[in-house]
């Protein structure tokens, strides 16, 4: 009962944040520059959390996450621009097609481990990008023009849904199975956990939400191009998860929010931004390889005082 109370409390805090920002936006207190930044933050948080379930929880090192985002972006753009369906249908379709792509890629590649899996996912993401580049229906290299439909409400509730589903999944029986795989795959297998099944499921969930984030992203700017979804985008998502702490949901959220703010301010100096990003990444890996929060959550820090050090 106590757990579910905490859940409703966080949900309430989330909705209050939403309402305050919504009020500030409609009354004109937040200009278009900052409201754009907030929407980008929501998108990046979704991407970070959806990669967190693959890398942080299940321990499968995927560096091709932008590929699923690209699938979601293009599918949703086809739905709204070519088939003229409502935006909400496009978001759902983007998630489902990205999920299918995730399963299609996950089933063969998740037999691989560590470095090989990383390279294989990178390869698949590049193949997705090259396929999009060569299909004239979606505009090829020139890209595809998309209507602007994303609002703060869409972005925020999609993000909230992502966080709720993934944090509840993590706390469930399935989530614990995934954590067992992360800690020791052979031991998990010996305990009777169907490791392939849980790896594929985590991959599918991650791909689903990356696809939704892609749909929101596509309708936030007026054009989408295959070049946007290259290796550097995957790297951006990776650094949120790694910096926040491999295995910490709140860490990924925090890192995504902070780094989005930093990169918005450094938007005019992209080289400086990349130099800072890569230096941060190297230094974090050398001196604190678990990331800033490790596997802890921010909420654990608050609980620490109440329960007298009994943090599990």
């Amino acid at each position: 009962m106590k757990k579910s109370k905490a859940f409703w409390a966080y949900l309430l805090i989330g909705i209050i944040i939403y309402a305050i920002v919504q009020f500030a936006m409609s009354s004109g207190m937040i200009g278009s520059y900052y409201s754009n930044m907030l929407i980008t933050m929501c998108i990046n948080v979704m991407l970070a959390v959806s990669l967190h379930i693959i890398i942080g929880i299940t321990g499968q090192f995927s560096i091709g996450h932008a590929g699923f985002m690209a699938v979601g972006a293009y599918v949703s753009a086809i739905f709204t621009m070519k088939l003229e369906l409502p935006f909400i249908a496009a978001i759902v379709a983007a998630g489902i097609i990205a999920l299918l792509a995730g399963l299609l890629i996950g089933i063969p590649t998740l037999r691989l481990k560590g470095d090989y899996l990383a390279i294989a996912t990178l390869g698949f993401a590049e193949i997705i990008r090259i396929v999009i580049l060569n299909v004239d229906y979606v505009g090829g290299a020139a890209g595809m023009t998309v209507m602007r439909e994303t609002t703060w409400s869409y972005a925020f509730f999609a993000m909230l849904l992502t966080i709720i589903v993934i944090s509840n999944y993590t706390k469930s029986r399935h989530g614990r199975a995934c954590i067992a795989i992360r800690e020791d795959e052979i031991a998990a297998d010996a305990m009777g956990i169907n490791t392939t099944y849980y790896k594929v499921v985590a991959f599918g969930i991650g791909a689903f939400f990356a696809g939704i984030a892609g749909a929101i992203f596509a309708h936030n700017f007026y054009i989408i191009q295959p070049g946007t979804f290259g290796f550097l985008k995957s790297f951006d998502i990776l650094i949120y998860v790694v910096l926040g702490g491999l295995g910490s949901l709140s860490g990924s959220v925090l890192a995504a929010v902070l780094l989005t703010a930093v990169s918005t301010y450094l938007a005019e100096f992209p080289e400086t931004r990349m130099i800072i990003y890569s230096l941060v990444l190297i230094l974090v890996m050398l001196y604190r390889p678990t990331g800033l929060l490790g596997t802890k959550e921010i909420t654990d820090i608050f609980k620490f005082g109440k329960k007298g050090g009994k943090n599990v």
Binding site: I55, F61, I63, P108, T109, R111, L112, G114, D115, Y116, A118, I119, A120, L122, G123, F124, E126, I127, I130, V131, L133, N134, I186, F231, F235, L238, V242, L246, E271, T272, M274, I275, Y277, S278, L279, L281, I282, M285, L286, P289
Partner: protein, 291 residues
């Protein structure tokens, strides 16, 4: 005789991949790290070659030599500064650091000289040689010759010299090698130096052949060289050579058939097929996982 011409082109491009792949495979064999920054050492090599030919008026071979020496130094610096601390870290931490180093090199280069591309000055006269009715450019043959010479030199170093013996011993079992009195740190640095020197040579050759270089040029050839290393069996030196050449030939034929925009996809497809069906590659040894 069209196909013979394509075959020679494919092998000469493939030999560039093979030279880069050798560095990947040697480093992976010795410390089990995918050195993502290797493609950027290749890029630095290309730029050093460019500066030494166009600004310092050196000839092709002296530029090649200079570039190899500087790249060897850079490789050792990267290893000492970034990777040495990670010997006992998790594989993921090492891989992320390698990605970080790669991006750091790329964007530091862009920061100091801009992202625009440079055009290599022509140092070597390119003629078409008629072989059995096929037009084969002398440049392709030169590239092939230089690459093969470097590979033979590498084979000599690895199999006939003391440092080569130490390298083989460390890659076989680093602990036992240490007990036998081999300085493991120096051997690993030597491996990085040799691998990076080969990448630097590949950079100069790439510049002379394609004439256009830019700070992000290392990414795609770097990943393709990794594919070549996996194709041949990572950790195996002859495997990297054969894998590189094979990849070059496949790519050239895909382009020649009119699918040049799908060329990169073909390389990745080869990678995935190899990883799924024969992860040990063509020349690799099968290892069973022990608990």
């Amino acid at each position: 005789m069209e196909w013979l011409q394509q075959l020679v082109n494919g092998i000469s491009i493939g030999s560039i991949y093979a030279l880069i792949a050798l560095g990947y495979t040697m480093v992976y064999g010795i410390i089990k790290l995918i050195n993502f920054a290797h493609g950027d050492v290749f890029m630095i090599g290309a730029f050093i070659g460019f500066w030494s030919i166009s600004h310092w008026n050196l000839g092709f071979f002296s530029a090649l030599l200079l570039s190899m020496i500087v790249c060897a130094l850079i490789g050792v610096i990267i290893e000492r500064v970034a990777y040495k601390r990670l010997r006992n870290a998790t594989r993921i931490a090492a891989l992320i650091t390698a990605i970080g180093v790669s991006l750091l090199i790329e964007y530091t280069m862009i920061f100091f000289r801009g992202a625009q591309s440079a055009v290599y000055p022509s140092t070597i006269e390119n003629r078409a040689i008629d072989v059995f009715g096929a037009q084969i450019s002398s440049l392709s043959l030169l590239i092939l010759g230089v690459s093969v010479a470097l590979m033979l030199l590498l084979q000599f170093i690895v199999h006939k010299t003391k440092i080569g013996k130490a390298m083989r011993a460390v890659s076989h079992d680093a602990e036992a090698a240490k007990l036998m009195g081999i300085n493991v740190d120096n051997t690993i640095s030597a491996t990085f130096a040799i691998g990076s020197a080969l990448a630097g040579a590949a950079g100069v050759i790439f510049g002379v052949y394609y004439t256009k270089i830019d700070p992000l040029m290392g990414m795609i050839p770097g990943i393709k060289a990794f594919i070549a290393a996996v194709l041949g069996g990572i950790g195996s030196i002859p495997g990297a050579m054969v894998g590189g050449m094979l990849l070059g030939v496949v790519e050239t034929f895909v382009s020649a058939m009119g699918f040049s925009s799908w060329r990169d996809a073909a390389a990745f497809l080869i990678l995935i097929v190899i990883l799924i069906f024969k992860p040990s590659g063509l020349f690799g040894k099968n290892t069973r996982e022990k608990v």
